[in-house]
C-alpha cells in the first residue's frame, strides 16, 4: 500500500506527520460572495505627497479623470457575504451535497459577528499585487450557533490574472487565490449529527487549511453589487510544519494565456488524484465556465518530444453549479496501475479533441493540446510578504518538491530583483523602487534544502533612509528559483515582497510636537477620507488632542487586531511610537479623560 518513497519515510518515522491541506479530505466546499472595500485614494503613489494633494483626489473617478479612483471612501473591510457550504468530501473519499445527508450542507460560512470585519491591505502603494487579509474570523454558523470558529492567519493573495472573466474588464475580470490556515479554533459540534464535522475535528482539531478563489468583483459604485465579488473555496485539515500558504502538491503550469496555475494532490487512502482548477479556468457571462475545450487529466509517460499520455479522466465542468459545488476541485479515482504511473511521471491537463472517423471502421487519432503541464521540480516560499523596520529580520521558508515530494539537497538561489518582480511603478511620476540596496541575506546567495525539502534564509533590512520622499521606506522584490532553473521559467507570482520602513531620529520619537506628527496625520487624513470625513480628522490638532485616548487605544493595538490603526498597516515602528508618545503627552497634560463620543473639543 505504501509504495512511494515519501509514504515509506512517513511509515518509518513517526515524527514526520502526514502533510495535509485543504486539498486533502475531509474537505468542505463553500461558495457565495465576499466584500472587499479598500480605500483607493492611496492607489496612486503620488497621492502620498501632501504638498501636491488636492481635494478631488477624495472623489470618485470621473471619466478619464482618476481622482480618488473607484472607491475613495472605502472602509478597508473584507468579509464573507452569503457564503454557504455546498459539499463535503469525507475521509473515505465519499461525498455529501444535501442537508439530508449531512447537516453541514447549507450552513453559513461567515466572518466575525461580535467584532468588526477583517481588513484588506496592500503592502504598499507601489506593490498592490499581494493584498493581505488581516484580523479575519472564519466561522461556520447554524441557527445562531458557531459550529467552528477560528482566526485566519493573515495572508496575501497570489496567482492573480486579469483574463479570468471574459465578459468583464479591468479588475472585475481578474481572479486570484488566497490560502492560509485557521488557528485558535473553538468547536461546538456535539449537538449536531454531522459526520463531516466529527471527521474534521478528529483529523485536525487545532488548525485548518483554508483556500478560496475570488473573482467577478464589482467596482461600479452605482451598482447594488458594488464592492462585492464571487468566492468559492475549501477548508480541510492542516498540520504544523507544513506550508500554510501553498500545497505541497503537483504544480501545474499554464501553457497558454487562457488558463492559470493549478495544483493537484495524490492521496493513497483511497487512491485518488485531486486537482484544484479553482483559479485555472476562464469564466463568462452568468459566471459560467467559458470552456469549449474537452479537458482531461493525464499522465505523460513519454518524453519531451514524444509524449505518451495515459488518461485519468475528463474534467466535467458543464454542470452550471459545478464551480459553486466543487470550488473547481476535481477528483479522480486511480487504479493501482495508474497510481504507480502518477507517482512516476508528470501530470498534464490536455484538450482532447475527437477528430472523428475516416470510415465506420477507423477512428482518427484525437488532436491533443497540452493546456497545463506539471513543473516537476518546484520551489515556493511559504510566507512571501514581509514588513520590516530598520534592523529587523524575517525568515523566509522555502519548500522544494519533485512531483510533490520533498526534494533533498537541492540548491535554491535568490537575489534582489525589484524591477523584474514588482515591476514599474503604477503611475508616472511615482518614486523609484528597490533602492538603495539595504537588504542582507543569510546565507548570502543560495541555500540547500534539508531532508524535508526545506530551506530557510534570513533577510535583514537596514535603514533605507527616505528614498521615496513622501512615502515611508522602500519596497523590494526578491526572486528565487532552484539553481538549475531560471526565474523566468518559474511561476512569476512566486517572489518575495518586502517593505522596509524609515527610521526617525530618537529625539523626535521621544518628545514629539504636533509639527513632528502633523505630516503623518495629514497624509492619513488625505488618503482615508472615510476616517477624516466620517470619524476623526487626523489633520486637525484639536481633534487629535480631544480624542487622544481613543487614538492611543487604536494606534497601540496588535497588527492582527481588526481595529488596528492605521488600517493600511503602513506605519513604521518609529512613527507609531512617536504618535503614541505625542498622545501620551496630550493625556498627561490634560489629566482627564474624555468620553468616546466627544469628537471635537
Amino acid at each position: 500500500m505504501f509504495e512511494t518513497h515519501f509514504s515509506k519515510q512517513f511509515q518509518n518515522d513517526p515524527k514526520i506527520k502526514i502533510i495535509m491541506s485543504y486539498l486533502n479530505s475531509p474537505r468542505l466546499t463553500f461558495a457565495g460572495q465576499f466584500q472587499a472595500d479598500p480605500s483607493t485614494v492611496n492607489n496612486d503613489p503620488t497621492h502620498f505627497d501632501n504638498a501636491t494633494f488636492i481635494p478631488v483626489y477624495q472623489e470618485y473617478q470621473a471619466g478619464n479623470n482618476m481622482n480618488g479612483w473607484w472607491n475613495p471612501d472605502g472602509t478597508g473591510s473584507w468579509r464573507f457575504v452569503g457564503c454557504k457550504i455546498t459539499s463535503v468530501t469525507y475521509k473515505d473519499g465519499t461525498t455529501a451535497t444535501a442537508p439530508a445527508d449531512d447537516p453541514i450542507i447549507g450552513m453559513s460560512l461567515m466572518d466575525a459577528d461580535s467584532r468588526v470585519a477583517g481588513k484588506i491591505v496592500d503592502l504598499d502603494a507601489e506593490q498592490q499585487m499581494v493584498s493581505m487579509l488581516w484580523g479575519l474570523i472564519v466561522r461556520i454558523a447554524a441557527d445562531g450557533n458557531d459550529v467552528m470558529k477560528g482566526e485566519y492567519e493573515p495572508a496575501a493573495f497570489t496567482n492573480i490574472w486579469f483574463t479570468r472573466s471574459l465578459d468583464l474588464t479591468t479588475d472585475a475580470a481578474a481572479g486570484a487565490v488566497y490560502q492560509s490556515v485557521i488557528k485558535n479554533i473553538v468547536w461546538d459540534i456535539e449537538k449536531l449529527n454531522s459526520r463531516y464535522l466529527r471527521e474534521l475535528k478528529e483529523t485536525s482539531p487545532k488548525q485548518l487549511s483554508i483556500q478560496f478563489n475570488i473573482d467577478r468583483y464589482d467596482m461600479d459604485h452605482t451598482s447594488a453589487q458594488f464592492t462585492l465579488g464571487r468566492i468559492a473555496g475549501s477548508i480541510g485539515p492542516s498540520n504544523d510544519g507544513e506550508p500554510n500558504h501553498f500545497v505541497l502538491g503537483r504544480q501545474l503550469f499554464p501553457q497558454a494565456n487562457n488558463c492559470n496555475y493549478a495544483v493537484a494532490l495524490v492521496d493513497e487512502n483511497p487512491d485518488t488524484l485531486t486537482v484544484d482548477l479553482g483559479n485555472a479556468l476562464q469564466f463568462s457571462t452568468g459566471g459560467k465556465v467559458a470552456e469549449t475545450r474537452n479537458l482531461a487529466v493525464a499522465v505523460d509517460k513519454g518524453s519531451d518530444k514524444n509524449p505518451d499520455y495515459v488518461y485519468l479522466g475528463k474534467i466535467n465542468y458543464s454542470d452550471p453549479d459545478w464551480y459553486a459545488n466543487s470550488a473547481g476541485i476535481c477528483k479522480f479515482t486511480l487504479s493501482k496501475e495508474n497510481l504507480k504511473l502518477v507517482n512516476k511521471f508528470p501530470l498534464v491537463i490536455v484538450d482532447y479533441q475527437i477528430t472523428g472517423q475516416t470510415d465506420s471502421f477507423t477512428l482518427n487519432p484525437p488532436q491533443v493540446t497540452v493546456v497545463l503541464q506539471e513543473s516537476v521540480e518546484y520551489v515556493c516560499a511559504d510566507q512571501f510578504v514581509f514588513r520590516l523596520n530598520p534592523g529587523e529580520s524575517c525568515q523566509v521558508n522555502f519548500f522544494a518538491t519533485n512531483k510533490g515530494k520533498p526534494l533533498f539537497g537541492k540548491s535554491i538561489e535568490f537575489r534582489p530583483d525589484t524591477s523584474n518582480t514588482i515591476g514599474p511603478p503604477p503611475s508616472s511620476g511615482s518614486p523609484l523602487m528597490g533602492v538603495p540596496d539595504i537588504l542582507t541575506f543569510n546565507p548570502n546567495k543560495s541555500v540547500k534544502t534539508d531532508s524535508n525539502g526545506k530551506a530557510s534564509i534570513k533577510i535583514t533590512g537596514a535603514d533605507p533612509g527616505n528614498p521615496r520622499g513622501y512615502i515611508d521606506g522602500q519596497v523590494y522584490g526578491i526572486s528565487y528559483n532552484l539553481s538549475d532553473q531560471q526565474f523566468q521559467n518559474c511561476n512569476q507570482a512566486n517572489f518575495i515582497s518586502l517593505l522596509v520602513f524609515d527610521s526617525v531620529p530618537k529625539a523626535a520619537v521621544k518628545n514629539p510636537t504636533w509639527d513632528d506628527i502633523q505630516p503623518i496625520m495629514q497624509q492619513y487624513a488625505n488618503l482615508y477620507p472615510i476616517m477624516s470625513k466620517g470619524i476623526f480628522n487626523l489633520a486637525d490638532k484639536n481633534v487629535v488632542d480631544a480624542n487622544a485616548e481613543i487614538l492611543k487605544f487604536v494606534f497601540s493595538k496588535e497588527k492582527t487586531d481588526p481595529n488596528y490603526m492605521p488600517a493600511t498597516r503602513d506605519l513604521s515602528r518609529d512613527k507609531q511610537q512617536m504618535i503614541l508618545n505625542y498622545l501620551d503627552g496630550v493625556l498627561n497634560a490634560k489629566g482627564t479623560k474624555k468620553t468616546v463620543t466627544t469628537r471635537n473639543p
Binding site: 457565495g32 460572495q33 466584500q35 471612501d73 472602509t75 473591510s77 457575504v81 452569503g82 457564503c83 454557504k84 453559513s108 461567515m110 466575525a112 459577528d113 461580535s114 467584532r115 468588526v116 470585519a117 466561522r139 454558523a141 441557527d143 445562531g144 459604485h221 452605482t222 451598482s223 447594488a224 453589487q225 458594488f226 462585492l228 472615510i530 470625513k533 466620517g534 470619524i535 485616548e549 481613543i550 492611543k552 487605544f553 481588526p562 481595529n563 482627564t592 479623560k593 474624555k594 468620553t595 468616546v596 463620543t597 466627544t598 469628537r599 471635537n600
Partner: protein
C-alpha cells in the same frame, strides 16, 4: 416625562427582571440619539453634535452599569436576541402604551423638544403621586424601587450570613480607556450597586435642586441630559444667573444651528423598504449586521468575556460609517429623501443569498386544463418543443385518465418555469376567438415572432395575425394568439424595444 408600567419588585428574580428591563431601557435611547447625531456629521453643527455625543456616551455608560448590576446580583444580561431591539417608531421598553412614540429620525429641534426632552424630563414632584396612582411610574421611581429592594433583600440575606451579590466579580465590565474608574467600576456589593444607580439617575436627571450633574457623578461640569437638550433647543448654554428665579438661565455662549446641510433622511427607514438590488439595501444590511454584531459583542462582554467591550468600541465606528454611507444614498422609493440606518436584527442566516422570502423563490408552474393528456403532450413537445419532467408525472389509471398530470419544461429555460397539464375536463373547452378570450393566457416571449409564428403555422397550428402594442412609457411589443388542443389560449410575444422610444 416617560412613564413606565409599574412593576412588582419583591424577590431577587424580580430585581433581575427589573435590571434586565433597565438594560433594555438604557439601550433603547441609543438608536434614536445616534441617528440624530449621524445626520449632523459634517454639517457645521459640531457644538450640537458634541452635546448629543456626550449624552450618548453617558447612555452607553448607563447600559454598562446596568449590565454590571445584573451580573452582580447573579443575573445574566440578554442583549443578543431580536426582541432586545425596540421597534421604531414605538414606545420605549416597559413604557406605557399611551406614552411617547420614539422614531428614528434626522436631527431637528422639534425632535429634541418633542421626543428626546420628553424621554429625559426629570420628575416633577407634584406629578409623582398622580402617576403612581395610575399604575405608572417614572424612570426615576423605577430606579428608586430597584434600589429599595436591593437594600431590603441584602439586609435579609445578611441576616442569614449570605449576600444577594453572588455574581462572579470577573464578569464585571470596566473600560478605563473611556470611562474613568469613578464612573465605571465593578459592582460587587450593595454600596457599589447603589452608587451605580445614582450615577445613572443623576446624569440623566440632575439633582432635585440643581440642573447640573453633581460633580461626583461626572468628569466635566455639565447639565443633566434634559437641560443639555434644552440648550440645543434654546441655542444657548445654561449658565448660573443670579437674576433668574431658579438661579440659572439659558444665557450663556450661543450654540449655533444650521440645518441646511442635514440630509433629508426618511423617517423610520426599514431594510426591506429598499429593493434588494439597490446600494441602499446592501448598505442597510451591512449596517444592521454591524449593529447586531455590536449587540453580540456587548452580550459577550456581559456574559463572561469583559474584554469584548473593546470589540464593541470598534463596532461603534463601523456602525457609524455604514450609517453615514446610507445617509449619502438616495432612498430608492422616495425621491427627495435619503436612506438611513434602521437598527434591525440581522442574523447570520439573514446574510445568506435567499434574502427575502420571495413568491417565486423556486419557480412558477402554470397549470392548464387538458381533456386528453397524451394529445396535449404531443402538441407541447412535438410542436412547441417542451420537454417532459418525468419526476412529476402522475398517470392516475395507467391511461392518463382523470386527475392525471404531466409537467413540461420550456425549451431553452431552466426548470424554474414550467407548464403543468392537468386532466380535469372531459372535452376541450369551447373554441373562441383566442385574441378575445377572457382569462389566463400563458405568453411565450420569443426573439423573432415572425419566424416562430411561421414555424407553428407550418406545423399546422392556427396562429392569429401579429398585433402591435405600445405601452404608456413607449415600449413596443408584438403579439400573436393561438390555442392548444383544448383551446387554452396561448400567446407569442416579442419585445421589440426594451428602451424607451422617443
Amino acid at each position: 416625562m416617560i412613564l413606565l408600567k409599574d412593576v412588582k419588585i419583591e424577590t431577587i428574580e424580580d430585581v433581575r427582571d427589573a435590571v434586565q428591563q433597565a438594560v433594555e431601557l438604557e439601550h433603547s435611547t441609543i438608536p434614536p440619539y445616534l441617528t440624530a447625531n449621524f445626520t449632523l456629521n459634517n454639517t457645521g453643527n459640531d457644538d450640537i453634535s458634541n452635546l448629543i455625543g456626550s449624552i450618548l456616551g453617558e447612555e452607553m455608560l448607563h447600559l454598562t452599569i446596568a449590565g454590571n448590576l445584573l451580573n452582580a446580583v447573579g443575573g445574566t444580561p440578554v442583549i443578543n436576541k431580536p426582541p432586545f431591539i425596540p421597534t421604531y417608531p414605538g414606545p420605549l421598553p416597559g413604557g406605557v402604551e399611551t406614552g411617547l412614540v420614539v422614531p428614528i429620525a434626522k436631527f431637528s429641534k422639534d425632535l429634541i423638544k418633542n421626543v428626546f426632552m420628553v424621554i429625559e424630563e426629570p420628575e416633577n414632584k407634584i406629578n409623582i403621586k398622580k402617576a403612581a396612582a395610575d399604575g405608572k411610574i417614572t424612570i426615576g421611581q423605577f430606579y428608586q424601587k430597584i434600589k429599595k429592594q436591593l437594600e431590603e433583600l441584602e439586609r435579609e440575606a445578611k441576616k442569614k450570613k449570605k449576600t444577594i451579590f453572588t455574581g462572579d466579580a470577573k464578569n464585571q465590565v470596566t473600560f478605563e480607556e473611556f470611562f474613568p474608574k469613578k464612573l465605571l467600576f465593578p459592582i460587587t456589593d450593595l454600596k457599589t450597586a447603589l452608587r451605580g444607580i445614582d450615577i445613572i439617575v443623576n446624569q440623566g436627571e440632575g439633582t432635585t435642586i440643581d440642573p447640573f450633574v453633581n460633580p461626583d457623578d461626572t468628569m466635566t461640569p455639565e447639565p443633566a441630559h434634559y437641560y443639555r437638550f434644552q440648550e440645543i433647543v434654546k441655542g444657548k448654554r445654561l449658565v448660573k444667573d443670579p437674576k433668574a428665579p431658579s438661579g440659572y438661565s439659558y444665557s450663556g455662549d450661543p450654540i449655533p444651528f444650521d440645518g441646511s446641510l442635514i440630509p433629508n433622511m426618511r423617517e423610520n427607514p426599514k431594510m426591506n423598504d429598499y429593493p434588494v438590488a439597490s446600494p441602499a439595501y446592501v448598505n442597510s444590511k451591512l449596517f444592521n449586521y454591524s449593529y447586531t454584531s455590536l449587540l453580540n459583542s456587548l452580550h459577550r462582554a456581559f456574559n463572561g468575556e469583559p474584554e469584548q467591550i473593546k470589540a464593541a468600541m470598534g463596532l461603534m465606528f463601523s456602525v457609524r460609517l455604514y450609517a453615514l454611507k446610507l445617509l449619502a444614498l438616495e432612498d430608492p422609493n422616495n425621491p427627495g429623501y435619503t436612506a438611513g440606518p434602521s437598527f434591525e436584527y440581522v442574523s447570520d442566516e439573514d446574510m445568506t443569498p435567499a434574502d427575502r422570502k420571495s413568491l417565486v423563490e423556486n419557480g412558477l408552474v402554470v397549470k392548464l386544463s387538458s381533456s386528453d393528456i397524451l394529445n396535449s403532450k404531443n402538441f407541447y413537445t412535438d410542436i412547441l418543443g417542451c420537454t417532459i419532467d418525468a419526476r412529476y408525472t402522475l398517470n392516475s389509471d395507467g391511461k392518463f385518465g382523470k386527475d392525471s398530470y404531466l409537467q413540461l419544461n420550456l425549451p431553452g429555460l431552466n426548470s424554474n418555469i414550467a407548464i403543468g397539464l392537468y386532466k380535469d375536463i372531459d372535452a376541450p373547452l369551447p373554441k373562441q376567438d383566442p385574441s378575445a378570450t377572457p382569462g389566463t393566457a400563458p405568453t411565450f416571449v420569443v426573439a423573432d415572432i415572425k419566424s416562430v409564428r411561421q414555424s407553428l403555422i407550418n406545423k399546422g397550428v392556427s396562429v392569429g395575425e401579429i398585433i402591435e402594442n405600445k405601452s404608456d412609457q413607449g415600449y413596443v411589443d408584438f403579439f400573436a394568439f393561438f390555442q392548444d388542443p383544448d383551446n387554452n389560449t396561448l400567446v407569442l410575444r416579442q419585445n421589440v424595444s426594451l428602451a424607451k422610444l422617443n
